[in-house]
C-alpha cells in the first residue's frame, strides 16, 4: 500500500515543474508542518490540517478539530471517498486530486497542485497600477455616459414633451419637461402659463409672434400706423444697424410685442414705462415726420407742446364744430351765457342769494359741479339740479300749485306762457281805491295803479312769450336765443354743447389733485363769460410736475398721462399702479412749495 504524490509547481516563466514522490503506508498526513507527508506552504493551512487513511475500498478523510476541507466541492469536517472513483480534496489554496484506483492495484495516485488565482499581481503592468486608470472607469465611457445623460434629459425629454402637447388639448397643471428650457421665471401676470410653453412658443424654431399675444390680448391697439412708426424711429447707430441686421438674419421682425414686453425676466411686474421709451421718437419727431400734427415731446418740464383741448368753436346748424385750440385767445362757443366771476363773487347778488337759500356764505364750485362716481372727472352740469335752485323757472301760482316752465323745450314754453296770458284776468288789488278818486300823498297806491294798469293793458299772450325770450326774460339770461322771423313766435334756443373730454389724448384725474383748490388751476373767479376757456395750460401743470427726473414735487414720466397703446381711460401705468396700491399721494406741503 502506498501513495504516489505528483506535485505540480509553476516557475516564474510559466513552466510546469512536476515532482513525484512515493509515501509508503495507509496514512497520509497533510499540513504546513514540515513533518507532514504532504507539506503545503499555504498560511491558510494548519500545521497538521488533515489526514487521509485507507479503510477497505474507501479513503477516510479526517480533519483537525474545528477546521474544514472541501471534499468534492463540499466543505466538510470529515468524510470519505471511494477508491474506484477518486475525488478532489481542497485545502486552502491547494488542490489534492485523488485519481481513480484500478481494481487490485495497491497504489493511490495523488496530484498536488497550488491553485494560483489572485497571484498574478506581479505580472500586471506596474505603470498601470500606479495610474488612476486602474481604479476609475475610463474617461471616454464617463464622457459618453454624461453626454448621453444630458442629451436625454435636456434635449430628448423636452422635445418629446413638445410633441406630446400637440396631441392633447387640456391645460397642464404640473411640471413639464420643456420647462427645463425656460430662460427664467415668467412675469407675475403670465405666471399661470408656466407649464404651457406652447401658449406663446407656437411653432418650433419660429420666434414668438404677435398673433400668440393677440390670442388673449384681443383689444390692444397698436401705437400708430406701422409705416409712420417705422419712419419716426430715431436714426440707428452703427450698433443699432447691426442689431437690426442680426434680427433680419434670424427672421425676427422688428416691432413685435415682445420687443418691449420682454418675458422670462423673473417673476416681476411690468415696470413703469421709462420716459426715454417715448422720448426716443417723440423728442424730435417733427424732424423725421414733417407732416405730423404732434408737437415734439420729451421731458415734461422742458419739451412738451402746450395742451390743445378740443373745444366747440362754432356750429354747423345743430352740430357743434370741435376744434383743438391752444393759447390764451382760445374761446369756446358752447351756447351758454355764464359769468363764473359773478357767481363765485363773495359779495354780489349770487352770494346774497346763497346766504338766503342757506347754501353758504357764497357760491362754491362744488355747489354746481359734481364729480363723477369714480372721481376722475366732473358730471355735466344739469340745469334742473345745479342751476334751478336759484334760477327758478316758476312763473305763476295757481291756487297752491307753482307753475313752472319746462326746461329744454321752447315750443312747450311758448304754448304754456301763451295759454296762461291768454286766459288771465288779473284780480284788482284791494289796495286800489275804486276808480276815479285820487288822494294826495298816496304814492304807493299810485305806483300800484300804474303797474296794474300796465298789466291790464295786457301785453297779451304774444308779448308775454316775447318777453320770456328777450333780455330780462327767463331764457335769455342764460341762453342764446334765435329770434323768429317777424310776426312769428317760433323762438328757438341755440343748442348747448360741451366736449365730453377737453383733453382726449392725455389723462387727467382730479382725485390726486383733491388737495388743491379748484381756483389754483381754473381761473373761474376772473371769468366773465362762458366763452372763456377755463382749461389750464401746461404752465399751470409745470408748477408742480416736472419730467421723469426733476426737482419739482411730482416726477412725471410720459406714462403718467399717456398710454403707448391708445386707450380712452387712465393710462396703463396708472391703472397698474392703482391695482398694486403703489399710488402715493403727493404731500400737499410739497405741492405748495413747488407751486
Amino acid at each position: 500500500m502506498a501513495f504516489v504524490l505528483r506535485t505540480v509547481t509553476t516557475s516564474a516563466e510559466g513552466r510546469e515543474i512536476v515532482r513525484t514522490r512515493r509515501v509508503e503506508g495507509d496514512r497520509l498526513t497533510i499540513g504546513r508542518g514540515p513533518a507532514c507527508d504532504i507539506h503545503l506552504t499555504d498560511l491558510a493551512v494548519a500545521l497538521r490540517h488533515a489526514e487521509v487513511a485507507r479503510s477497505g475500498e474507501r479513503l477516510a478523510v479526517t480533519v483537525e478539530n474545528g477546521l474544514t476541507v472541501a471534499l468534492d466541492g463540499r466543505q466538510v469536517g470529515a468524510g470519505s471517498l471511494a477508491l474506484a472513483t477518486g475525488g478532489d480534496l481542497r485545502i486552502g489554496s491547494h488542490l489534492l486530486r485523488f485519481l481513480p484506483v484500478a481494481a487490485g492495484s495497491d497504489e493511490v495516485a495523488v496530484g498536488v497542485e497550488r491553485v494560483t488565482e489572485g497571484e498574478a499581481k506581479l505580472d500586471r503592468d506596474a505603470e498601470r497600477l500606479f495610474s488612476l486608470a486602474s481604479v476609475l472607469p475610463g474617461k471616454r465611457p464617463l464622457a459618453w455616459l454624461l453626454a448621453l445623460l444630458v442629451i436625454g434629459l435636456c434635449i430628448a425629454w423636452p422635445v418629446k414633451t413638445f410633441y406630446d402637447r400637440q396631441q392633447r388639448a387640456e391645460r397642464f397643471a404640473r411640471f413639464q419637461a420643456d420647462e427645463l428650457w425656460s430662460a427664467g421665471h415668467l412675469s407675475a401676470a403670465h405666471a399661470s402659463l408656466r407649464h404651457d410653453c406652447n401658449a406663446c412658443h407656437v411653432k418650433p424654431f419660429e420666434s414668438v409672434r404677435d398673433a400668440a399675444c393677440a390670442s388673449c390680448h384681443r383689444d390692444i391697439h397698436g401705437h400708430a400706423d406701422p409705416f409712420r412708426l417705422a419712419r419716426a424711429q430715431p436714426d440707428l447707430s452703427a450698433w443699432g444697424r447691426f442689431q437690426l441686421r442680426l434680427k433680419q438674419a434670424f427672421d425676427l421682425p422688428p416691432g413685435r410685442c415682445i420687443d418691449c414686453h420682454t418675458e422670462h425676466q423673473g417673476p416681476q411686474q411690468m415696470a413703469p414705462t421709462p420716459q426715454r421709451f417715448c422720448a426716443d421718437c417723440h423728442g424730435d419727431l417733427a424732424a423725421r415726420l414733417p407732416d405730423t400734427r404732434l408737437g415734439n415731446a420729451g421731458d415734461f418740464a422742458r419739451i412738451h407742446p402746450d395742451f390743445r383741448p378740443a373745444v366747440v368753436t362754432g356750429w354747423q346748424g345743430e352740430r357743434p364744430i370741435l376744434t383743438r385750440v391752444s393759447g390764451p385767445a382760445a374761446r369756446e362757443a358752447n351756447g351758454l351765457k355764464f359769468p363764473h366771476a359773478l357767481h363765485l363773487s363773495r359779495s354780489g347778488g349770487a352770494a346774497q342769494m346763497a346766504r338766503r337759500l342757506g347754501i353758504g356764505a357764497s357760491l362754491d364750485c362744488a355747489d354746481c359741479h359734481r364729480p363723477e362716481p369714480n372721481g376722475a372727472r366732473y358730471q355735466p352740469v344739469v340745469m334742473e339740479r345745479d342751476c334751478a335752485q336759484c334760477h327758478s323757472l316758476a312763473f305763476a301760482r295757481t291756487g297752491g300749485v307753482v307753475r313752472t316752465l319746462r326746461h329744454g323745450d321752447p315750443a312747450q314754453v311758448i304754448a304754456e306762457v301763451g295759454d296762461y296770458y291768454r286766459f288771465r284776468t288779473a284780480p284788482r288789488p284791494p289796495s286800489l281805491a275804486p276808480a276815479g278818486r285820487r288822494q294826495p300823498g298816496a304814492a304807493p297806491a299810485v305806483a300800484t295803479r300804474i303797474r296794474f294798469d300796465a298789466g291790464a293793458r295786457a301785453p297779451g299772450p304774444e308779448a308775454a312769450v316775447r318777453a320770456v325770450f328777450s333780455p330780462g326774460g327767463a331764457c335769455y339770461d342764460c341762453h342764446q336765443v334765435d329770434a323768429p322771423p317777424a310776426g312769428s313766435l317760433a323762438y328757438r334756443i341755440h343748442p348747448v354743447a360741451f366736449p365730453e373730454r377737453y383733453i382726449r389724448h392725455g389723462w387727467f384725474d382730479h382725485r390726486p389733485h383733491a388737495a388743491q383748490s379748484c381756483g389754483s388751476c381754473h381761473q373761474a373767479a376772473r371769468s366773465n363769460a362762458a366763452s372763456d376757456l377755463l382749461i389750464p395750460g401746461i404752465a399751470t401743470c409745470r408748477g408742480c410736475h416736472g419730467g421723469e427726473r426733476t426737482a419739482k414735487p411730482v416726477a412725471s414720466p410720459c406714462a403718467m398721462c399717456h398710454s403707448y397703446h391708445a386707450r380712452p381711460g387712465a393710462p396703463a401705468m396708472v391703472v397698474r399702479q392703482r391695482l398694486r396700491g403703489e399710488q402715493r399721494p403727493v404731500p400737499a406741503a410739497a405741492v405748495r412749495e413747488g407751486g
Binding site: 464622457a143 454624461l146 428650457w181 430662460a183
Partner: protein, 281 residues
C-alpha cells in the same frame, strides 16, 4: 534628479525653460485679458433694455464667441496628440487653451446676465465653470507636485517598487511558516494587503489606517519573532512609499477625470442650451 535640484534662476538665459503659462511673454494671457475687458466694457456701455441677458444682440455676440471658444478649447484633446514645434506649437496652443479658457468665466457669465435658475442654461454654465475650475486645479498641481512625485520614488522605478513589495511578500510567507493557524491568518492578511487595491478616495488621502501589515506587527509583537517582525516593518515602509507615490499620482490625474468627461457633458448641455433657445424662440 541632479538637474531637478538646481534652482532655475542659476540657469543661463538660453537654457531657461519658458512654461506654457508664460509662453511668448504671456501673449495669450494678454489677449484673454483684452477679450474680458472688451466684454465688460460692452456690458457696461451698451444699453439693453430692460436688462442684459443672453437674448439681446450683445448677448448673442457674447454667446457666439463663447461657444466658438468652447469648441476650439475642446479641440486641444485632438491637437495634443500631434506635438509640433513652431508658431502654432503645442505649447502655444496649450497656453491659449488655459488663458482663453479662463476668459470664458467672464464671457459666459456676462452672457447669462448674471441670472441663474433650474434650467439647461444654468446647467451649461455650471458645467463650464466646473470644467474651468478643474483645469485651474490641474494647472496648480502640475506646478506644485511633480518634484514631490520624483522624490517619493526614492530613486526607484515604479516596477522596482512593485517588485520589492512582491519580494517582501515571498520573504514574509517563508518567515511565517512556523506560525500557528491563528497567527498565520494575521500574516495572510498582511500578505493580501495590496496598496493598488485602494480606490480613488483612499489613494487621494494616502491613508494607511486600515493597513493589515501594521496590524500584523501589533498582533505578532508579543510573540517576538524578530525576523518576521523585521520583514513586516520593511513591508510597512514599502507600502508607505507606494502610497505616497500613489497619492501624488492620484492628485495629478484626478482632475482629468473631471475635466474631460465634464467637457463632453458641457458640449451636450451647450447643444441643449442652443437648441432650446431656438426651438422655443
Amino acid at each position: 534628479m541632479a538637474t531637478r535640484q538646481i534652482p532655475r534662476t542659476t540657469l543661463g538665459e538660453g537654457a531657461s525653460h519658458e512654461g506654457f503659462l508664460r509662453h511668448k511673454r504671456f501673449r495669450w494671457a494678454k489677449l484673454a485679458l483684452l477679450l474680458c475687458a472688451a466684454a465688460v466694457a460692452g456690458y457696461a456701455l451698451i444699453d439693453a433694455p430692460p436688462r442684459h441677458y443672453g437674448g439681446t444682440a450683445f448677448g448673442y455676440v457674447l454667446g457666439t464667441v463663447a461657444t466658438l471658444l468652447i469648441l476650439w478649447l475642446t479641440l486641444l484633446g485632438l491637437r495634443k496628440r500631434a506635438m509640433t514645434p513652431g508658431r502654432w506649437s503645442l505649447k502655444g496652443w496649450t497656453s491659449a487653451h488655459v488663458w482663453l479658457g479662463l476668459s470664458l468665466t467672464v464671457l459666459a457669465t456676462l452672457h447669462s446676465g448674471l441670472r441663474f435658475g433650474p434650467d439647461v442654461h444654468t446647467l451649461a454654465w455650471g458645467l463650464m465653470m466646473a470644467v474651468i475650475l478643474s483645469g485651474l486645479y490641474g494647472i496648480a498641481v502640475y506646478a506644485a507636485l511633480p518634484p514631490a512625485l520624483g522624490d517619493s520614488r526614492a530613486e526607484m522605478t515604479r516596477p522596482q517598487m512593485v517588485d520589492a513589495l512582491a519580494k517582501l511578500d515571498v520573504q514574509l510567507e517563508a518567515a511565517a511558516q512556523p506560525l500557528a493557524l491563528a497567527d498565520a491568518a494575521v500574516v495572510r492578511k498582511a500578505l493580501a494587503e495590496d496598496p493598488f487595491a485602494a480606490g480613488l478616495l483612499r489613494r487621494l488621502s494616502g491613508s494607511d489606517a486600515r493597513s493589515a501589515t501594521r496590524r500584523a506587527i501589533v498582533a505578532l509583537a508579543p510573540a517576538g519573532d524578530a525576523a518576521l517582525l523585521a520583514v513586516l516593518e520593511r513591508k510597512v515602509a514599502a507600502l508607505g512609499q507606494i502610497r505616497r507615490h500613489l497619492r501624488i499620482r492620484a492628485l495629478l490625474e484626478v482632475w482629468l477625470y473631471v475635466h474631460v468627461p465634464l467637457t463632453f457633458a458641457l458640449l451636450a448641455a451647450l447643444a441643449a442650451h442652443i437648441l432650446s433657445v431656438f426651438f422655443y424662440w
